[in-house]
Symmetry: D3
Subunit: 191 residues, 6 copies
C-alpha cells in the first residue's frame, strides 16, 4: 500500500537535532516519502534544536559519544502530533522486543524510554510535528554516555551489535506500519 | 490532563460485537469520556457485528468460551481510524509486556495478534472508527477456544490469573495514554 | 509510495449504487487499499442508494443501458469529503483529456459533467464520504441512455472503445495520484 | 476528562505578544497542557509580534498602561484555527456575563470586542494557531489606554476589581470547557 | 466569504429530531450550504431520534407544546463535533444577549441551557456530527412545557415575541459566523 | 456559499517566492479570504524562498523574464497540503482547457506541468501548506525563459494574450471552486 522507505546509512553521522526537521531524509539523502532511516554517530543537541521543552526548561545536556539513531517521517494529511507520539511508542515497544530477543538483560520500557534492570537509561527519543509531516527521533546508546545527569548503558553493555540490530528494527517497523495500513483498510465504521 | 476512565467489571459479560459501538461505556455503564473497560465473558460475534471485513470475507467464526475483554474509546476530534489502530498496537505491546512478566512462556506479538511459542493464538482484536470516537476491542482467551480454525491458547495455559492481569493492564494503559498526552504537550514544532 | 490498486473487471457488472459504499472493492473483489476499479455494465440507482440529494429532490431517474463505470476509494485519515470532490474533478479532467485524444469530438467538462458539442451528457458522477474512506463513482455512457430527462451520448457515438479507454484511464489516474503524493512529499511549509 | 489548568499570576507581567507563542505557559511557568493563565500588566506589542495582519496593515499601536490579560492554550490534534476563534468568542461572551454581573454598565459584545454604552473599547483579543496548539489572548483594560486611535475604558471605570474578576473568569471558562467536553462525549452521530 | 443562509419558516413545523439529520435544510427546504433555519412548532422527540445519550439513559421525555426552533448546519471538512459544540455555545450566548435586550428578566446561561431567575428552564439544545457536516438544534419554549421533569418557562412569560426575536437571532448568528471567518483569515500563525 | 475573491492586478509585479507565504493577498493587497490573484511580471526565486526541495536539491534556477502568475490561497481548517496539491492539479487542467480553446497547439499536461508538442515547458507550479492556509503558485511563461535547463515556450508562442486569458482563468477557477462546494453540500454519507 504505502511502503515505508528504510535505510541504514553506511558511514557515521552525528545527530545534532537538525535531522528532526521536515524533509531531512529527502534533502540530505534523496529518500522521499514515509521513511525510517538509521545511522550510527555521535549525539549532541544544542539548545536551539531541542524539541522537548522540558529539556530546555531543566537545561538538559543531551549528548552521547556513539548512538544508533533512527529518524522516522510520515506525511500525514493533515499532520497530527498525537500520531507521531503513538508511532514513537510503537517503535519503542519494537526496540524492547528486539533487545529482549538479542540480550539476556531484562530491559524495561516506560513511555519512550528504555532502562536496564539497574535503571540505566539506554535511549532518548522525541516526537515532533512539522508543517508537512510528523517525525520521531529514537537514539540508543552504543556506548555509555557520561555527564548527562543520569546513569546510562549502551548496546555494547547488552552485547548487541548495532548494525544487525538496526537492520532488524528497520524491517520490524516496516512490517508494523504495513500492518497498521492493512488494519485501517479492512475495517468498516462502527455506527 | 485528560485522564482515562478505567474499570474492571465485577460480573461476567458476553462480548457480541455491540460493545465496539459508539458510547457503549456511557450507554451501558454510565462511564463517560475516554475509557478502557475490562470484563470477562463469552465471545461470539455474529456476522452483522463484525468490523473486520476480512473476517466477513472468509466467513470466520469468532468465538471463545471465556475471554478477558478490553474496550477502549477515545473521543478524538475529528475521529481518525489510524489513531485507533496505533493505540491498539500500543495496547497489544503492553499486553505482551504484562504476559511476559507473569509467565515463563515466550509470547510473541505480530501486529495486534499474540501467539505462544507453539503458534497458538491467544487473542483477537479490532480497531474501529465511530462517528464520534475511535475504539478498539482486545480479547484474550482465558480458556482455549475450539472450532475457530486456528490453534488457540488461553491465560490459564500460561498460568495467568485474569483479574489481577486485567487490573495491571488498566493501569499500564492509563499510564501510557497519560504519557502520550504528556509528550504532545511538551514538544514544540520542528520548522 | 502509496500505489493505487487498479483493475478492469473482465465481466459485466451492473452499478446499482451499492458500490459507492465503504470497502466495496475489498468486500466484493478482495482488492484492498486505495483503488480505482473499472467495469462495464448497466446502471440503475434506486432512490435509497442515491448519494446526491439533488437527484433525490428532483426525483431523478439515474439509469443507462450500458456504462463504463469507475469506482475510486481513498483511505484518508481522517476522511474528508472535500478531498473526494477534488479527486473527482481531477479524474473528470483526465477523462476529458483521454476522450479528446481518442475522438475528434470537442468534449467539454463542467465540474464533474462531460458534454458533447451538441450538449449531450456523456457521464454521471458523485463523490461521497464513508466512515473510513472517501470515494467517487464516475460513469460514462457506452450507448445512449434514454428516458433520463436530458439528451445523452455515449462512447460509441464518439467512436471510442470502452476497454482500451478504461485501461488508459486506470493508468492515467494512477500516475496522477502518484504525482500528488510525490508533490506533497517534496514541499516544505511556507511560514 | 481533560481539566483545564488555570492560574492567576501573583505579580505583574507585561504582555508583549510573545505569550501567544506555543507552549508559553509551560516554558515560562511550568504549567503543562490545556490552560488559561491570567495576569495583570502593561501591554505593548511590537509590530513583529502582531498576529492580526489587519493591525499590521493599518499600523496600529496596540498598547495599554495596565491590562488584565488572559492566555488560553488548547492542544488540539490537529490544531485548527477555527476552534481557537470559536473558543475566543465563547470566552468573550463569558467576560460580558461576568462584567454585567459586577457592573451596572450596559456592556456590549461584538465578536471578540467589548464596548461600553459610550462606545469605549474595553478589550483587545486575538486567536492564533501554533504548530502544536491553538491559543487566544484576551486583554481587558484596567485603566484607560490613550493614543491608540479609539476611545477606551477600563475595569476601573466600571468599578470592577481585576483580581476577583480574574478568578471568576478562570472558573467560568474552566466550567465552560468541561461542559464542551461533556457535551461531545454524550452525543451519538446523526446519520 | 462563506455567507450563512438564514431563514425563518412562515408556517408551523413540529420538531421530532429528524431535523438534526444531515442535509435536512437542503432535503426539506432546498436551502443549500451552511445555514441557520428557524421555525415555530411543537416539540416531541421519540427515543430513537435522541442524540444525547444522557436523555436516553434517564428516559427523558423531551417535549413542549410550542417552541421556537433553530437548526444550524456547517459543512466542515472534515466534520468535527467539538466545533459543533463550540458554535452551539456561542449561539446560546447570543440568545442570552438577545433575551436580556428584550426582557427585564435576569436570564442565566449554563453551557447550552438557559434559565430564568426562578430556575425555570427556557431551552433545550444538542450538537451533533453527521458524516458530512456538524449541526445543532436549539429550542426555546414559547409557552411552558409540562410533564418534562423540570420547571420550565417560555418566551411568553418573558414578554418576548417569537418571530421578531427569531429574526434578530438569525441576523446575530450570521454576523457572528462572518466574524469568525473574518478572524481566521486575518491571523498569521504563532511559531 | 464561499465565493472566491479573484483579481487581476493592473500593473506588473515580480514573483520572488514571497507571494506563496500565508496571507500575502491580504497583507499586500487587502484582499481577504479564499482568493485567486493573477499578475504579470518577472520571475526569479532565490534558493531560500524555494518550496519544492527537489529544486533546492538539484540547484535549479527558477526564472523567467515575463510570466503570468496565479496565486491561490484557501483557508482550510485544518490546513491540509494534499488539498492544495489536488486544487493545483484541477487548476492545471483548467489552464490546459483554456489554452486549447485559444490556441491550435496540442498542449499536454503532466501533473502540474504543461508542455507544447515539442516538449517545451510552458509553466512552473508549486503547492504549499502555511500554518493557516493552503496555497499554490502557477506561473505560465509569457515569453520564453532561457538558461533554466529545459526548453521553454510562452503564451506569445501560442498566440495567446495574457490578460484575457488571465480573466478567463479567474472565472473558470471561481466556477470550479463553487462547484466543489456545491457538490460537497449536496451529498449524504455512504454508510
Amino acid at each position: 500500500m504505502r511502503p515505508l522507505t528504510t535505510e541504514l546509512l553506511r558511514g557515521p553521522l552525528a545527530y545534532d537535532g537538525t535531522q528532526i526537521g521536515p524533509l531531512w531524509a529527502y534533502r540530505a539523502l534523496g529518500l522521499q516519502g514515509d521513511s525510517l532511516i538509521a545511522f550510527v554517530g555521535r549525539c549532541a543537541i544544542p539548545r536551539r534544536h531541542m524539541i522537548d521543552q522540558e529539556d530546555v526548561r531543566r537545561r538538559a545536556r543531551i549528548a552521547s559519544p556513539r548512538m544508533l539513531h533512527f529518524i522516522a517521517e510520515h506525511f500525514d494529511a493533515p499532520p497530527d502530533l498525537e500520531k507521531a507520539v503513538l508511532r514513537q511508542r510503537v517503535f519503542a515497544a519494537l526496540v524492547l522486543d528486539e533487545l529482549r530477543a538479542r540480550s539476556d538483560s531484562e530491559i524495561r520500557r516506560e513511555g519512550d524510554d528504555l532502562f536496564t534492570p539497574r535503571e540505566e537509561k539506554l535511549s532518548i527519543s522525541v516526537a515532533a510535528a512539522t508543517p508537512v509531516s510528523t517525525k520521531f527521533h529514537f537514539g540508543i546508546n552504543v556506548v555509555r554516555a557520561t555527564g548527562v545527569g543520569v546513569k546510562t548503558a549502551g548496546l555494547r553493555d547488552l552485547g548487541v551489535q548495532p548494525k544487525p540490530f538496526a537492520e532488524a528494527m528497520l524491517e520490524a517497523y516496516r512490517r508494523e506500519i504495513e500492518g497498521v495500513l492493512d488494519a485501517r483498510t479492512r475495517a468498516r465504521g462502527a455506527l
